[in-house]
Subunit: 517 residues, 2 copies
């Protein structure tokens, strides 16, 4: 993101704004943010960085900073799709003018303020955001700031590199500021499927999507021009993710996952060539699994996920993946460049949807999604902590992991068995925060192995988790914990020693390592 690349011309410098009424509303970002007031709820576009407004968010940060410097307690509530560009997140958090943040972030400055209690952070399932905002759980949305690729002659909006919650923001906001970003390749138009069939109950009807490539909506956003108070022009690329090289641990995790798929195909529980639609989180492990798929026997796989990562483009190139549905791109600079250069090809294999559809429980259940998400830690009975380091400090948020794990066909959680050079075990007696309960966790995978918990009672689960997933350095202590818990009078269905359940975490807090000396 670059301030300098945010032109503020009063007359359009590109042909992206084809509707005359909208052209009349072109202003600078600084002028646009005058529509945002102290105490407003501001909803911005952006999901996994892609589609974050570039100019208006910077101008908003400056407006908040200046107001607060002048003694005005200017603050806003900030709603997004998921994470937004790290620069934007940081700039806004640094103002100390974000009162409430929802639903997801992944940036150190914001994270620090959340953990200091200086930002109220509400960590909810990404599929719930649209309905909860619509219902009014967050009050009125005063201003929406939405990046788009262009405005059509008839006044419809061509979506950007993410859809996220933009459809909902445009529907519910009292005032709308549009950022028209001419960097976005024009060929992206048509690569979105914006569904206008959702409603609040009792007016809901079935969502008739039965395959990942079904189009059930329209390519463009609708918008009420009366509520559009400003149009800002930019030409500014999305922030990109750094590609980290594959590592042996991620490769080992991927191998276990791929072995499991083979095993399930042999058992007749998964279709042989195509498996079922895959969902995978962001990061090294997910990329390693994707990379591994291309050397397998699969052809014509599908994905029903939140984001398109670099690995996905490769799988589409070689035919391993037939179609990928998501709500945003999450690419490296190289990946983004490849996408832009080959947009006409990829548009035939990729569709971006609103996140209420990409993560919708109805669709996730129907398609039978194979949910693969990362985790911070799991306990011996299969409860998963995705969010809170040592049970108290927020990392990023639950994101969409619960949407997929709760309603998917297979619910898998993946992590290296240790962190911080072995000082932290990802398998612990009891997790001090639970985002996914034992009822929603079927498969745990570390580089050590894969624990299939389906159909197992807790006392069997603990044995399998320790044997298959725990790092050897921690197995003896975990086994000792289980054996002593089971040996207590009235041990119960899920034996625990409440006084020691967080022993690993407390030791880490005291000594900097979970290792017993």
């Amino acid at each position: 993101m670059s301030m300098s690349s945010a032109p503020t011309a009063p007359v359009s410098s590109t042909d992206r704004i084809r509707n005359r009424e909208f052209r009349k509303k072109i202003v600078s970002a600084e002028e646009a943010v005058r529509h945002i007031h102290r105490g407003d709820t501001v909803a911005i576009s952006g999901f996994a960085s892609a589609g974050t407004p570039k100019a208006v968010t910077c101008a908003l940060a400056e407006r908040i900073r200046a107001a607060r410097a002048a003694g005005d307690e200017f603050a806003v509530d900030l709603l997004t799709g998921a994470s937004v560009s790290a620069d934007t997140e940081r700039l806004l958090a640094e103002t100390d003018g974000i009162a409430l943040r929802m639903p997801y972030q992944a940036e150190p400055t914001a994270r620090a303020r959340i953990n200091d209690g200086r930002i109220d952070y509400v960590d909810i399932h990404l599929s719930h955001v649209a309905q909860q905002v619509w219902e009014g759980c967050y009050g009125n949305v005063d201003v929406a700031v939405v990046e788009v690729a262009g405005i059509t002659e008839s006044g419809e909006l061509i979506p950007a590199t993410s859809v996220g919650n933009s459809k909902t923001w445009l529907d519910v906001a009292e005032k709308i500021i549009l950022e028209v970003n001419s960097w976005i390749p024009e060929g992206l138009a048509g690569g979105h499927d914006i569904y206008y069939g959702t409603a609040l109950p009792p007016h809901r009807t079935p969502i008739l999507l039965t395959d990942v490539d079904d189009r059930i909506g329209q390519p463009f956003f609708r918008v009420d021009p009366e509520r559009v108070v400003a149009v800002v022009e930019t030409e500014s690329p999305d922030t990109t993710a750094k590609l980290t090289p594959q590592d042996a641990t991620s490769d080992a995790i991927a191998t276990h996952v791929l072995d499991f798929f083979r095993h399930e195909v042999q058992a007749g529980r998964l279709p042989a060539d195509t498996l079922l639609p895959l969902q995978s989180g962001i990061g090294n492990v997910a990329n390693a699994v994707l990379a591994g798929l291309s050397s397998g026997p699969y052809r014509g796989l599908t994905c029903y996920s939140e984001v398109i990562q670099d690995g996905m483009l490769q799988l589409i190139d070689d035919g391993t993946v037939r179609f990928a549905s998501s709500t945003a791109f999450a690419l490296s600079a190289e990946g983004l460049d490849k996408l832009v250069r080959n947009i006409d090809f990829y548009r035939e294999h990729i569709l971006l949807r609103p996140q209420e559809i990409s993560n919708h429980p109805e669709i996730v259940r129907r398609l039978g999604v194979i949910a693969m998400n990362g985790m911070l830690e799991a306990d011996i009975y299969g409860n998963v902590n995705s969010t809170h380091v040592m049970g108290t400090r927020m990392m990023n948020g639950i994101g969409g992991s619960g949407d997929f794990a709760r309603n998917g066909y297979l619910s898998m959680f993946l992590s290296p068995s240790t962190a911080r050079n072995g000082a932290i075990s990802s398998i612990v007696p009891m997790v001090p925060h639970i985002d996914h309960t034992e009822h929603d966790v079927q498969i745990l995978v570390t580089e050590q192995g894969l624990a299939d918990l389906r159909g197992l009672a807790p006392r069997r689960r603990s044995r399998v988790v320790i044997e298959k997933c725990a790092h050897p350095d921690y197995r003896a202590e975990l086994t000792d914990y289980v054996e002593r818990a089971e040996a207590t009078e009235g041990a119960g269905h899920t034996p625990h020693l409440l006084g020691e359940a967080f022993g690993f975490h407390q030791r880490f807090q005291q000594t900097g390592t979970m290792h017993a000396r």
Copy 2:
């Protein structure tokens, strides 16, 4: 249940078996259970007692008992809809021949063996049972034992007073034993909606149910006559629940719930006359809420729930409830008598569905169900423990609470603020077992008040939960815990003191009360 009322005539003594081929298969229960072998997986009908097979289960218990007495390690895996008749559960558990039990129970003998680790108990969402068994997570189902009200001329089965998983058991079992119970009122025929449209992915299609009274299936079960190995005749009433008198605590909880509904209607978040389809668990609190509804301004309410309790019949009588969809009756003797006497009236207002439909995430989400479920305890941040007393000892199971809470429109959990004459606080610093995470819990209610957690960050949630829901005797200590947790260095997003988080529970274990002395 009464052994003496289980006739074993080789020729039909009633007109309930109208198909000749099935009449040929009539045998005694003792003969029928010879089809069940050591190591078999046995799936039986029954949900909340209703529809439990009466004769074959007794004969099976006797077969297991005799075999084990003779030194044979005869054991079976037992799958059901949910809880079954307590007598049946107890008889089977007492044999020590139940190796695995799934998915729900509510009986002391079985519970004790589960907590001793002598029965492998798998506690899963009731909506997941059908798909997981179908998928093969529990191996083959060797024998299904299904109670029905009759067999039609064409060989279809008239369901009993519960549907539960019977459709699935009939579909997947290698051998089928039918119990035809002539006690079941003939007028119940037509009061069921058996949907045959579910499939394993990738073959799933939308389930086109958009109102609670929609019929999307057929009134009778299909069955492959080749797999029916025995038909047993009985004339034996369902076990009934005891009605406990309403108490002030339940009434107070109900009052808070009803005030909340009024508040939500005023805020425009719920339709005024009809609210949204209600789901409520079993027991005093649920009955008090139902009773309270009839004195409210509501007409034509609907219910989309698991069970029909006595209070529901009353609401249907007086027009407060227009229609109730469920999977089973859970009535007192008086309620059952009333149902039987007025079956033609109630059949117009009640429909029983398979539990994969009554609890289906797709439908629960679409209808916008208001989920009201009991809990053992909640913590100050809104995590709920529904199953494990003191974190280790299984009470009953998660049942359908997660199906409704996870995908419903409003997710409410209700409980008295204390148990055991005040020795146990239902609001604790941290629950030692989580069935419903902070992400899925919106509203907590005790007789003290109602905590609306929607849109609140954890540090705000803790204040609201303590102030609104905790018993005054425990408020000071809970507040002290929160304040000290927040005051620690790096307190984090969700402040906790890991060394004290289970202090309430440990004190109870040591002293028999959570009260500090």
